[in-house]
Symmetry: C2
């Protein structure tokens, strides 16, 4: 059931601030009329955008602040002097229960550091993860961690599996999502120690997910599992590499189509097909990295995106808010940590 | 100048053995008539293929062995009982100076382990790397390590930079190849300790390469540098992810073109353009992982490839053999290690 949900927006985050955030929110509101917003930032700038969008204005509360976190600020700096910034206030709204989820296109490191400080990690979690939606030939899958942390212990990889499964349950409405562990080979002899240990635990522990074992990088886009688990360094590189490859092939395709008049005529006839392809490959459609493992949900939008891309991040935030993800995940994590500590019974 | 070069082929390696290896060699011989081959494996099977290819047969010596390394064998097993196998003999031919380079489509782990044992790592090198050719919008770049080892110290990352630069010099004929270090962000505050330390050394040391700093995954395919350096876990995942993304987009494109009669007609007209695209995206064209850091060159072909793909690996082996890579690289590595040990001079 769709319930009214409130989203806290850092209106100053990202490269374009309110000129992208406000029209982006309006696009999401068209799709989900039950949404309402709190926008934090320079009130005059926000109001100037809201004036053009009366329906959105009616569903939006504006909270003024002059303080902003710059894109170049280091996370530690941002923590020290971040109080009262638009980013800080948006996260605090989730903490206080005024909003269901926070969205920002701002500085990723600062956003994560503040979210950890304000929302606090769930019990037993030291490192929250950033989860990305990854388009596949079937539909979409969830990949995490895509860069919140570098490296992950075996336990943390298992935590990521549970976090990803919780997100898949929320977004894909599957009770037991399939989960794969990203590795360099399908043979058990390969891989790092942490990955092997996580594999053993995921295989040997009763968990609310369907563990499918190791997968390799080329299987992500084939949609073989709902959730792909990997530590943040390799995960971030995989995500960026896939984005780069898609752009590269788009460039090849455009160049090839221009090579002759006949190809150009063909491309003209096939324009509808190219539009579908372009839509499939549009990085704005899968915009939004979800912070998981905190007592509250926060979604990071790409800083350079436009209103359409920002709306994808807001849509994602809305879908996450619709689910009762946090309490369920907290229970799943507690049960797993309890099993890890208890002697094996199997 | 093209000189006669001899390539040692493990004729039993890969999923299809001599039925791919022999016709693959024939394709390369058409391009490089100065080539000759030694083929190791089941003589009857090899001869049966050679009979159809008299020009190749005239340039090929066959050395019979019944012993083969299976694809499922663990590297340690392969080392213990690998002596006299077709893979072993091919590598040994390089060691003995009978061949300039060895090519196999067999078991990667066994191939690397045997190459280390037989050819020995260069002085000061503990971990050889596997380098891949990566198609870019400009031409090609070299990415290493793509899976010889998991993890790499700062010194090893610098060694990879020198190895990759040597390979770029051999293949692209650039005296000072550009090198980038793959990281999760362009800011110096990000990344693992090893990557940051390698960055400092590459920036601060006089080396026979043009170090360009950090790059991210989406820049590989843009061809921003000639050589991309990364440890093997993330490198292998990046490579596989790029392959998977290319396949995924190919599937999108085919599906989109079939959606209407008009699109199909357009696709028919643009068939020439699609052929160019297909060729650009053909993974067989960039087939071949080069083992670097050993006293001799070995090239791993994809095990499941066909004759055209195997020929790409042989072509690569030939181009590597043409260069005086090994002695030059040994000198570069020795000079770098000397600088690391010497006190900084500013």
């Amino acid at each position: 059931m769709s319930q009214p949900r409130t989203i806290a927006l850092d209106a100053m985050g990202g490269d374009h601030g309110p000129s992208v955030v406000v029209p982006g929110a309006a696009l999401s509101l068209e799709r989900y009329p039950e949404l309402s917003f709190i926008m934090y930032g320079n009130e005059a700038l926000i109001r100037a955008e809201l004036e053009k969008l009366p329906r959105l204005a009616a569903k939006t509360r504006v909270v003024h602040t002059d303080l902003v976190v710059s894109m170049s600020e280091k996370p530690s700096q941002a923590l020290r002097r971040g109080k009262g910034t638009s980013l800080w206030l948006a996260i605090e709204a989730v903490k206080n229960g005024e909003a269901d989820v926070a969205v920002s296109g701002g500085n990723t490191g600062a956003f994560m550091a503040m979210s950890k400080l304000i929302l606090r990690p769930m019990k037993g979690i030291e490192r929250p993860a950033i989860a990305a939606l990854w388009p596949t030939v079937r539909a979409e899958c969830i990949v995490l961690d895509v860069g919140a942390n570098i490296g992950a212990s075996a336990k943390e990889l298992c935590d990521f599996a549970l976090m990803g499964a919780a997100m898949a349950r929320a977004l894909f409405h599957i009770e037991r999502p399939t989960v794969g562990l990203l590795n360099v080979g399908v043979e058990e002899i390969k891989g790092v120690e942490e990955v092997r240990q996580a594999h053993a635990w995921l295989k040997g522990t009763e968990l609310p997910l369907d563990y499918r074992g190791f997968i390799e990088g080329d299987q992500i886009g084939q949609g073989v599992v709902d959730v792909v688990v990997v530590e943040g360094f390799a995960g971030n590189i995989a995500l960026k590499t896939a984005e780069g490859t898609a752009r590269q092939i788009g460039e090849y395709l455009r160049a090839a189509m221009k090579r002759s008049w006949i190809s150009q005529a063909g491309a003209l006839l096939a324009a509808g097909a190219f539009r579908i392809l372009k839509r499939k490959m549009d990085p704005r459609r899968a915009n939004g990295g979800t912070f998981l493992g905190l007592n509250g949900i926060a979604v990071k939008s790409h800083g350079g995106t436009d209103a359409l891309g920002f709306a994808s991040a807001v849509d994602l935030a809305y879908e996450m808010a619709q689910s009762r993800l946090v309490p369920r995940l907290a229970a799943d994590l507690a049960a797993f940590h309890h099993k890890l500590e208890a002697p094996a019974t199997g």
